[in-house]
């Protein structure tokens, strides 16, 4: 029987095989500070596990795409849909098994060696997770369901692993030990991180949107505003935070009321100020682009019908600018989530403080404890925005309607 191979999946699967074989799944270190000895998947896999490798590999690289030269079946046939859905399921189970293997080994180590010994997830594990994510993304794209359903399926890939985590499997892994050691601090840091992001984004929008609107009214403004914002964007974040400390401290000294309210050269003030400055460029730029692509005819008609300028802005310009504004806002939010990590250096707290704590005390898993939530937050924000953007797209643009001839559209007496 001819083996059909899907190129993208095959490459990923091959890389996965390479990662599983050549990179360590785990690292066992005598204490938290050392890097540890590598432990490979090959040594952890039970005997019967070997017999699964080849069939799983073969299944993974099967094309589940429909139509074209591969398949004689019509695009939305049930069996091909099932085949597409099977891949994420396979990946989900694979991830869970990998995690379970790692967790079990960690447990063994914890039981047989000193309490200081740490088992960390190694490069091999993370590579496999990344590849699994890529393959799921690819598989999910070909499901002909709504984007919400697709995101759901994608989230489900992580579900079995999360379930294992929830019931306590993996508690001997170094990453989880770090979490347990500073559980309270972690949640406080996470909450703080979100607060910082929100405190920066809201003023950016309130400042950025009117600036964008001002640019549509006065052509001169846009000529010096954008170069200024571009320059701000290029200043390295740590430098900007540092540069803001002195003037803000001076301000706090000059106006005691400010310092009583908590304003100072360190902490939230320089962090939020810098974050707002960084977010302005994407917001103003996409706001301006959005406002500029509002059809002139619509604005003229609105004016001629007796709408006030404010009504025109809120009812016509802003809704029509949203499909362009929202991607810019999404960029700003994701960027801010990442940059907030650095604000820990000026004492603002957040997940970055865990990260730097780990960096300075040479504990890699503590760094991961800070970084992984940041990455997940960014991915979550990205997905939320994607949903919002899909929601504001004019209805029917993705339908067959838009491409149908006028004749096909109408069933009434009009031509």
């Amino acid at each position: 029987m001819r083996l059909k191979v899907h190129p993208v999946l095959a490459v990923c699967a091959l890389l996965g095989l390479g990662a599983a074989w050549l990179l360590p799944l785990l690292r066992v270190a005598p204490n938290r500070l050392m890097s540890g000895e590598p432990v490979y998947l090959a040594s952890v896999l039970p005997g019967w596990g070997w017999s699964l490798v080849l069939p799983v590999f073969a299944l993974l690289i099967q094309p589940s795409s429909t139509g074209g030269t591969f398949n004689k079946q019509p695009p939305n046939a049930i069996s091909s849909q099932l085949r597409v859905a099977a891949l994420p399921l396979l990946i989900a189970l694979g991830l869970a098994s990998l995690f379970w293997l790692a967790a079990t080994h960690a447990q063994q180590v914890a039981q047989t060696q000193s309490s200081l010994t740490r088992t960390s997830l190694g490069a091999g594990f993370w590579c496999l997770v990344a590849l699994a994510w890529l393959m799921s993304l690819d598989a999910v794209q070909r499901l002909s369901a709504s984007s919400a359903a697709r995101s759901g399926v994608l989230a489900l890939v992580a579900a079995p692993t999360l379930l294992l985590l929830a019931i306590g499997v993996g508690k001997d892994l170094s990453l989880l030990k770090e979490y347990v050691n500073r559980e309270e601090v972690f949640w406080l840091a996470l909450w703080r991180h979100l607060q910082i992001v929100a405190t920066a984004i809201v003023p950016s929008i309130l400042l950025g949107l009117p600036l964008a609107w001002a640019c549509t009214r006065r052509s001169g403004l846009h000529q010096w505003l954008f170069p200024l914002l571009n320059i701000v964007q290029t200043v390295p974040s740590i430098a900007l935070f540092g540069l803001l400390m002195a003037p803000l401290a001076w301000l706090a000294l000059q106006f005691p009321r400010l310092s009583q309210a908590g304003f100072s050269g360190v902490g939230l003030a320089p962090a939020v100020l810098a974050l707002v400055l960084y977010s302005l460029l994407p917001i103003v730029r996409s706001g301006l682009a959005g406002l500029e692509q509002v059809p002139v005819a619509a604005k003229t008609a609105a004016l001629a019908m007796g709408m006030s300028e404010r009504q025109i802005f809120w009812q016509v310009q802003l809704p029509l600018a949203l499909p362009v504004l929202l991607p810019g806002l999404r960029a700003a939010v994701v960027q801010t989530i990442g940059l907030t990590a650095v604000t820990a250096l000026v004492g603002a707290g957040g997940l970055g403080s865990l990260m730097f704590d780990g960096l300075f005390s040479a504990a890699n898993d503590l760094v991961l404890l800070g970084v992984l939530p940041i990455v997940l937050l960014a991915m979550l924000a990205d997905a939320l925005f994607k949903a919002m953007i899909a929601w504001v797209q004019p209805i029917g643009f993705s339908d067959a309607d838009a491409s149908a001839t006028p004749l096909a559209q109408v069933s009434g007496r009009i031509r």
Partner: protein, 315 residues
């Protein structure tokens, strides 16, 4: 209803409109026509203050337009433009309901009005009200645009080259529809166009402008039969003046009671003389059989009668 008293407007030293005096009666369909740069669009836009005049006064329903609150003034006038300007993010229903919404109408009255207008324009309400502009053809979009302009039952409807962007077939259909709407509603309409045939078809009175000034104000028939100058003559089409005149005349008065010979080509009773001549020429016949709405012959039309009736037209 609307009165221009010695209106003038300059754009940086260039006089766009000069010494404009015009009186528009209630229920009239007045067409402003002229070559590019004649000031016809400017004159129209001065009515709803999209352009503000420098000199003179414009009176709307007896009041100087500057004494109105500008938004209030605009809500009392419908405005339809060539690019339509429908709001892409709103349904047809919400688009049409724009001004009623601004005026605070109740949901039921709005819904009723939308149904009324869609029916008026021969668009099945239940099929079209939830559609979005990008799901409509060009002709449908302009219909919705005009419906939107009429939604709050304005005192006057202003139209700036509304059919210019449509294909000839759709354009003719919409022109006929507008004529029908005007006849049934009795609205005052001021329409700007550069298409003389459109003007001749629709207008009660035509205002021909050139370089910011009025050259002639007349009914279509008057304009064709007694043009005020060579410019007017050239503008209306010196060479096919006769044909144009024919399209303004109905078949009715020239019908003979005697039946046409069998096998003669047929013509509807409501047709214009221009259509009659076209069929006569195409079929190579001298007589047409005229049919009524029920397709029954009511008489005959002879080519010789047509030519005789036209003899007095100046070449």
């Amino acid at each position: 209803m609307i009165e221009f008293q010695n209106i003038g407007k300059s754009y940086g030293g260039v006089r766009a409109v000069e010494g404009l005096n015009l009186h528009i009666e209630l229920g009239e369909l007045v067409v402003l026509i002229g070559p590019s740069g004649s000031g016809k669009s400017t004159a129209l836009k001065m009515i709803n203050r999209m352009v503000d005049h420098d000199q003179g006064r414009i009176l709307f329903e007896g009041r100087e337009i500057y004494s109105f609150d500008v938004r209030d003034l605009r809500r009392r006038m419908g405005y339809a433009i060539q690019s339509v300007g429908l709001f892409p993010h709103w349904t047809v229903e919400r688009n049409i309901a724009t001004v009623p919404h601004l005026l605070g109408w109740s949901k039921e009255s709005i819904s009723q009005r939308v149904t009324e207008l869609l029916t008026l324009f021969d668009m099945a309400p239940e099929l079209f009200r939830q559609r979005y502009p990008h799901q409509l053809s060009g002709g449908q979009q302009q219909r919705v645009g005009v419906a939107r302009a009429l939604a709050a039952d304005p005192a006057v409807l202003l139209m700036d080259e509304p059919f210019g962007a449509l294909d000839p077939v759709t354009r003719t259909a919409l022109q006929l529809e507008l004529k029908r709407v005007h006849q049934t509603s009795g609205k005052t309409i001021v329409l700007v166009t550069h298409d003389i045939d459109e003007a001749l078809l629709l207008a009660d009175r035509i205002v021909l402008m050139n370089q910011g000034q009025i050259v002639q104000v007349a009914t279509p028939l008057e304009l064709l039969s007694s043009p005020a100058s060579d410019f007017v003559l050239d503008f209306v089409g010196r060479s096919d003046l006769g044909i144009k005149l024919l399209s303004l005349k109905a078949v009715e008065p020239l019908i003979r009671q005697t039946p046409a010979p069998p096998g003669s080509p047929t013509l509807a009773q409501t047709a214009s003389l221009r259509e009659a001549v076209a069929i006569l020429a195409a079929q190579g016949s001298g007589v047409l059989s005229v049919l009524n709405a029920q397709q029954q012959p009511v008489g005959s039309l002879h080519a010789s009668d047509i030519l005789a009736s036209h003899a007095h037209v100046r070449a």
